[in-house]
Symmetry: C2
Subunit: 355 residues, 2 copies
Amino acid sequence: MNRVHNFGPGPSVLPLPVLEQAREDILDYQGLGVGIMELSHRSAAFEGLLARMEQDLRDLLDIPEDYSIIYCTGGAHQQFSMIPMSFLQKEAYYLISGFFAERAFEEAEKFGTVKSAGSSKEKLFNYLPEVGAIPDTADYLHYTSNNTIVGTQYKEPPYAGRVPLICDASSDILHKKIDVTKCELIYAGAQKNLGPAGVTLVIIKKSFAERAPRKLPVMLDYRNYIKSNSLHNTPPVFPIYMIGEVLKWLKQQGGLDVIAERNQYKASLLYNLLDASSLYRPFARKEDRSVMNATFTIADKEVEARFLKEASSKGMYGIKGHKSLGGFRISMYNALPVEAVEALVEFMKDFERRA
Amino acid sequence: MNRVHNFGPGPSVLPLPVLEQAREDILDYQGLGVGIMELSHRSAAFEGLLARMEQDLRDLLDIPEDYSIIYCTGGAHQQFSMIPMSFLQKEAYYLISGFFAERAFEEAEKFGTVKSAGSSKEKLFNYLPEVGAIPDTADYLHYTSNNTIVGTQYKEPPYAGRVPLICDASSDILHKKIDVTKCELIYAGAQKNLGPAGVTLVIIKKSFAERAPRKLPVMLDYRNYIKSNSLHNTPPVFPIYMIGEVLKWLKQQGGLDVIAERNQYKASLLYNLLDASSLYRPFARKEDRSVMNATFTIADKEVEARFLKEASSKGMYGIKGHKSLGGFRISMYNALPVEAVEALVEFMKDFERRA
């Protein structure tokens, strides 16, 4: 077995010790004689797992008791619907900072009046828009903390005044400690920083959840998850279990401050190279750069093709940019080892010398 | 490692060779150097997997080309909403043959006029209701092919005349060959006969899907799955992969005719014992019994408690009946080996002799 350096944007690399533990637990979980995928979601073992995960998340992010931690399915896209169906009454605002932010906005348009709070679309989202004036009476402001495709990231949540703030943190949840209480709702599809695809973590203020109308589709009503502890029906047991293993791993690494420093270091290795290079052209505006996804292009398309081919042959996986932008995207989520970025940077330096 | 006999109702036992293959693929899928959970859903490898799975399913069930095969999330409960949101215009009918059938009916009531086509609730669903007269103009008739909690199963789909038939096959999909074309839509949460929890297989007639109104929530619109081949957003890659491995295993076993015979044999071992016993009292009406889930009680509660304790100590896992019925439920899905039923029957005979 020869594992490559996986810079894929999601589903993405998982910590090796987590994968090795999963291998053990597939045939026999905790000595019960059944594998983790064969375990009843009503069992004491699974309820114990959920309880431990809740505690780990509360520890890692200082989540107060008036927030619930729940697990949904359908990815961020299902949240794109659940949010306006639950909370859009008069009008809501969306910060349109990337392709997925725009999709969230367009989905919300199905359900009522939504307005742009700022957009950087005219420059293909290569910078972070500022929040314009929004009325205090708005139902909520939705923003995307990290824009995976373009490689920009809000260092701090935008100022929303008294308007409830909702954050799509799919591609940077748990990359550092954040103040959860600045948002009423934070959601994240698991497949970037949390675990495998198939589950969405939602951190939601309980009193906010109560604002939703009645008669929502059963699996699109946050209250059903809150009151059943995500056990209204059979949840995605294995993807949830994997998040649990990732949380354990994060704690073993020393918690989010250690992780944040490591992420900063990995990103600086790559951005320093990009800034010193005359071959590689960083895409995102310097002050808005993401520590999770770095994007760049090479002007000469023939050289770009050669770069991709050589990088692949050196075990650099998943570096091709999104089809809407072209070029390259290097995803450096929590689970990506420092060594992977070091190897990539070495290769890029060498390639530039020869180019 | 000492694996127990897992009679759990779902999530339930998976075929051992499938679990062993998953262990291999977790660190390195097909020599790509990334594990199956770390693989991009846009990769050629994953698209190849989806194509192979589609072919296997079409082979196993003779699914014609005018039906699409898609993968949703949110379990059967999400289908309970998607179906009326998509297809309920004037009125629809529900055959209320069990607890989940009733939940489907109650969910549909949120979205329009639904009526009972027959119910066995007055006897706690211990028999299968007949379909009463329903008008040809009904939008659809919904039924549950196998009632997991009570242990009843329709041998053939109910007669619906010209009314589109929709089947919740969550707990018996692929237990034998069926005529898919009798239904416009068949759905099944994976966690009983297909794979782990976290994905729902849907087989839907393409022309039927087109009847849905516009502006549905994006992940609740069957058309979005059909036109993107279930890749509108990141699907639950690993649960889907597991279904793929189960399909491969089914073919290796000799296909659904072999599986059906084995299921019949397993069920007969247990039902023959129940019919010959004066201790165990079968719950479901004899002619309506399920080959997937067998239910029984023991009159003396003290003996019942002792039975559960002894059975557990002999490695019989997941046999406790649903809380709404009490007693015992023995789930014998495709992946449950014959040996497990033989061991249980031996134990039950021995217990009765001593009781």
